[in-house]
């Protein structure tokens, strides 16, 4: 009882400090709602929605798109309402948030705020929540317009409530994106530009990909809309909310509602961006490495699992698999979709991990005298700290968790399609001496082989990041060069592949093994028409892994020498 009351008191105090008595929220809300300005924005927002709604619905009536059914008409109005609101929120919110931190820098108030007893978390959360609450006011003000749609029928209050929740989660994400960019830059104009670009790209991506996958699903699999089974990411853009409000994704035997996926993902990514922003506020950088890394690993793993379990792999009747199979067959593939799935999953996992290597594996080397080689590989205690020494252990952990979740997804996918086990066909036949042994051990051989190549490649990328951090004083230089190295390494196989006609008889062709793309491409079986290697093609994973291990040893050895000599990246 005492424990419960203590927890209750703690939560109350945290809520009171963070939200109710947060001076940042109070000041921002006070200034935003002062005079006619705040109310004029609300009036304009509602007027714009009303006029656009009137024009769109009138056009629908005149062109008889909706027929004569009142219920269809109500649904159309509501869909238009959500479309317009999603668009407006995407346009308005970045303008309000992208200057939230940069304005403090420009007005020279950040130092005064940083010196107070406000934590960076309260500052950032205050900035984000003040805009989020204002957006809530805008969105809630539009509810009476939704009630007009309800009058025509065909809409349930639950459908409206779910759609609004999805829109609110979208607003949370968009406002977090603005605050995130605002914390990274010193100038509002740069932050605003980056906010609009990133929000725009994500909005278009989620609209097209989410929407098109939903349509494909409906077109290719008759009967799916009736059972309301849809791909998991179909509802990311809130304009699709009315369509998917009662739909669910089938993950193995689990039925996960589409709105839950969209809302959870947006809130989690928003939270991740806010935690990252906390680490970048000038004068008061709090170490949020633990929550950031946990959130990043969780979000990426679950997203990959959802992709693998529903959209990729041995689900032959899925529209995505059909499209991918079609594309691959044009490249000369004869591989079954199960093996194709492993290759694609390898590419996705490597793509995600590689995108973040430069972030986690560059920075100041704290203990310059100590052996970087030993530090980098054995500092497992620093795995969730903002310390370069924990970067390789963290990337190993993340690779294993991410690829593990991908495997779970593929397993669930196989179960969905009715296949027995995973993968039930030996991926590369019995060719290659290592495969002969490995294939006899388990059906998971090919999955494990790609996993080994993936983890070793990520370790090698991280080691390159550490070496460059030990050579340059500026983190930016180390970051850019690490990213460049990763791009070159990633593209070495596709580049040589394109030049294969000219270099097939030269040793240069064998350099393909340096990049991790080779074993994954072998898994996808797009290498049939390629020149021969010095090794059996099926052993590419092993050759790539061994080469990357050797490179890691050399690179970390060099980092040990250069850290003491050059000092490396300097602390802020």
């Amino acid at each position: 009882m005492a424990f419960a009351s203590a927890v209750k008191k703690c939560i109350h105090e945290k809520f009171y400090e963070t939200v109710y008595d947060n001076p940042v929220i109070v000041k921002d809300m006070r200034t935003r709602m002062r005079g006619a300005k705040g109310f004029a924005v609300i009036a304009c927002y509602l007027a714009f929605i009303s006029i656009t709604l009137l024009i769109c619905t009138s056009a629908s009536v005149f062109t008889q798109v909706t027929g004569n059914s009142d219920s269809k008409f109500g649904e159309t109005i509501f869909q238009w309402l959500m479309n317009i609101q999603a668009l407006l929120v995407t346009f308005i919110v970045p303008a309000l948030t992208s200057g939230s931190v940069t304005i403090e820098l420009e007005k020279h108030t950040i130092g005064l705020v940083a010196l107070s007893r406000l934590t960076t978390g309260r500052i950032i959360l205050g900035k984000q929540l003040s805009v989020f609450f204002y957006t809530l006011v805008l969105v809630i003000c539009s509810v009476p317009l939704a009630s007009i749609a309800m009058m025509y029928g065909g809409l349930s209050p639950a459908e409206i409530a779910i759609s609004y929740l999805m829109l609110i989660a979208w607003a949370f994400l968009i406002s977090s994106i603005g605050v995130f960019w605002s914390s990274l830059f010193n100038r509002t104009i740069t932050a605003t530009l980056m906010s609009y670009v990133s929000c725009g790209i994500y909005a278009i991506f989620s609209y097209i990909v989410g929407g098109s996958s939903g349509h494909f699903w409906m077109m290719f699999i008759p009967g799916q809309p009736q059972t309301n089974v849809m791909p998991p990411f179909v509802g990311l853009y809130p304009a699709w909310a009315p369509v998917v409000a009662f739909s669910h994704a089938e993950i193995g035997s689990m039925h996960i509602p589409i709105p839950i996926i969209a809302i959870t993902l947006h809130l989690a990514v928003g939270l991740l961006l806010l935690c990252t922003a906390i680490m970048h506020v000038k004068y008061r950088r709090d170490d949020m490495s633990l929550p950031v890394r946990i959130l990043l690993v969780s979000i990426s793993s679950i997203v990959v699992m959802l992709i693998c379990s529903t959209m990729i792999g041995s689900l032959p009747q899925s529209p995505q698999a059909q499209i991918i199979n079609g594309m691959v067959s044009q490249l000369g593939s004869s591989q079954s979709s199960g093996n194709l799935g492993i290759g694609i999953v390898g590419f996705i996992a490597l793509g995600i991990l590689s995108s973040f290597v430069a972030v986690f594996a560059t920075g100041p080397i704290r203990d310059k005298e100590a052996n970087v080689f030993r530090q980098s590989l054995l500092s497992w205690r620093k795995i969730f700290r903002g310390d370069l020494r924990g970067s390789i252990p963290f990337m190993i952990l993340w690779s294993i968790v991410l690829y593990g979740f991908a495997g779970i997804g593929l397993k669930l996918n196989s179960a969905l399609s009715g296949a027995q086990g995973f993968p039930n066909v030996s991926p590369w036949g019995n060719a290659g001496p290592v495969n002969q042994v490995m294939n006899s051990l388990s059906d998971w051989t090919s999955y494990a082989q790609i996993g080994i190549a993936l983890v070793v490649s990520v370790i090698c990328y991280s080691a390159v990041g550490i070496l460059l951090s030990s050579l340059f004083h500026s983190r930016r230089s180390a970051f850019v060069l690490t990213a460049l190295y990763i791009i070159v390494s990633f593209s070495i196989f596709p580049l040589l592949y394109l030049m294969s006609d000219w270099i097939k008889d030269t040793p240069i062709w064998q350099l393909c093994a340096l990049g991790p793309a080779l074993p994954m491409s072998v898994a996808c079986d797009v290498t049939n028409s390629l020149p021969s290697f010095w090794w059996a093609k099926e052993d590419s994973w092993l050759v790539t892994s061994l080469l990357n291990v050797a490179m890691t040893i050399i690179v970390l050895g060099l980092a040990s020498l250069s850290a003491g000599k050059y000092g490396g990246v300097k602390e802020d």
């Binding site: 403090e104 007005k107 010196l115």
Partner: protein
């Protein structure tokens, strides 16, 4: 109250501070003087925990600010040279924001804000918008914010720069008020007269190096190499110069504007012996006074005029 130990700050290859050592006891008011770019603002920002030193450390009331900045911050009131103000809020809202940020309990905030406004004499402007205040009033408002949480140490970076003479006098009066309240103050400025009659300690810095620091009287004596005496005589002849030059307690002797300027190097308070010697030798003395050297003279004497 404040001690900096070998404080060094590098910006890339440029060294802004070279092993700075300062010491302020409770109740001290130190004038931190130096030309533009000497390292005053860097020092104050490090003490305010806004910048990390490259090496060395700072102790505020015994707390190492490099290892425990969170513990030191409530003790510090910082007023930057480019003072930050939210211009779209009212005066009381601005102070309420910082009162809440400093976790002053909600039921005490109103009284605290009122007290701070009274100290800076802005009670009548309570409901005015910050953007409508004059520059001097904005400066005073920033000072009100600085003392809101009752800090022991005040760091004032160029508090009177850009103000007209009236506003500067008002700020000076305000600082005298703070001195009476027992605050320890580190005040930087390159406008020397505003510090001359206000500080009990002075530190002069140039190119990131501390040239001289200590109590004003000590430094004056140290820099002058003795007390300068200004003697006006009916007739200044060679014999007068010879008498003075022949004394053991007299250093340099020179003529200036019809007066004789003598550097007295003897025991403090015993320079009357110089007068006695002149009178004994029949010199007709019109006036005999100790030359007043102000901070400006001192500053010009110890700095080389190099702006880093």
């Amino acid at each position: 109250m404040l001690q900096t130990v070998n404080l060094t700050k590098n910006y890339g290859n440029f060294t802004a501070l070279h092993g700075l050592n300062l010491q302020l006891d409770a109740g001290d008011i130190m004038g931190f003087i130096g030309p533009n770019g000497a390292g005053k603002t860097t020092t104050i920002k490090i003490v305010a925990t806004l910048l990390k030193p490259t090496s060395g450390t700072v102790y505020v009331d015994g707390i190492d600010i490099c290892t425990n900045p969170e513990d030191a911050r409530p003790l510090i009131g910082y007023m930057p040279d480019l003072y930050g103000l939210y211009d779209d809020v009212k005066v009381w809202e601005y102070l309420d924001f910082f009162a809440s940020a400093y976790r002053i309990p909600a039921n005490q905030r109103k009284g605290t804000i009122q007290d701070a406004l009274e100290i800076v004499d802005l009670t009548t402007k309570r409901e005015a918008f910050v953007k409508d205040l004059s520059r001097g009033m904005q400066q005073r408002l920033c000072l009100a914010k600085t003392i809101l949480h009752n800090p022991k140490l005040l760091l004032l970076d160029e508090p009177a720069s850009g103000l007209d003479p009236r506003a500067r006098i008002e700020i000076k009066e305000l600082l005298s008020e703070l001195r009476k309240m027992g605050k320890t103050i580190l005040i930087s400025s390159h406008i020397l007269p505003e510090l001359a009659d206000f500080c009990n300690k002075v530190a002069i810095i140039e190119q990131g190096k501390l040239i001289v620091s200590g109590s004003v009287d000590e430094i004056m004596a140290q820099c002058k190499g003795g007390t300068e005496l200004r003697i006006k005589l009916v007739e200044v002849g060679d014999h007068v110069m010879k008498i003075l030059a022949g004394m053991d307690t007299v250093g340099d002797v020179r003529q200036e504007d019809g007066c004789v300027i003598v550097t007295y190097t003897g025991a403090p308070g015993e320079h009357f012996h110089v007068l006695n010697e002149l009178l004994k030798n029949g010199c007709q003395v019109l006036s005999f006074e100790e030359q007043q050297v102000d901070l400006e003279d001192l500053f010009m004497k110890v700095t080389k005029g190099i702006v880093s």
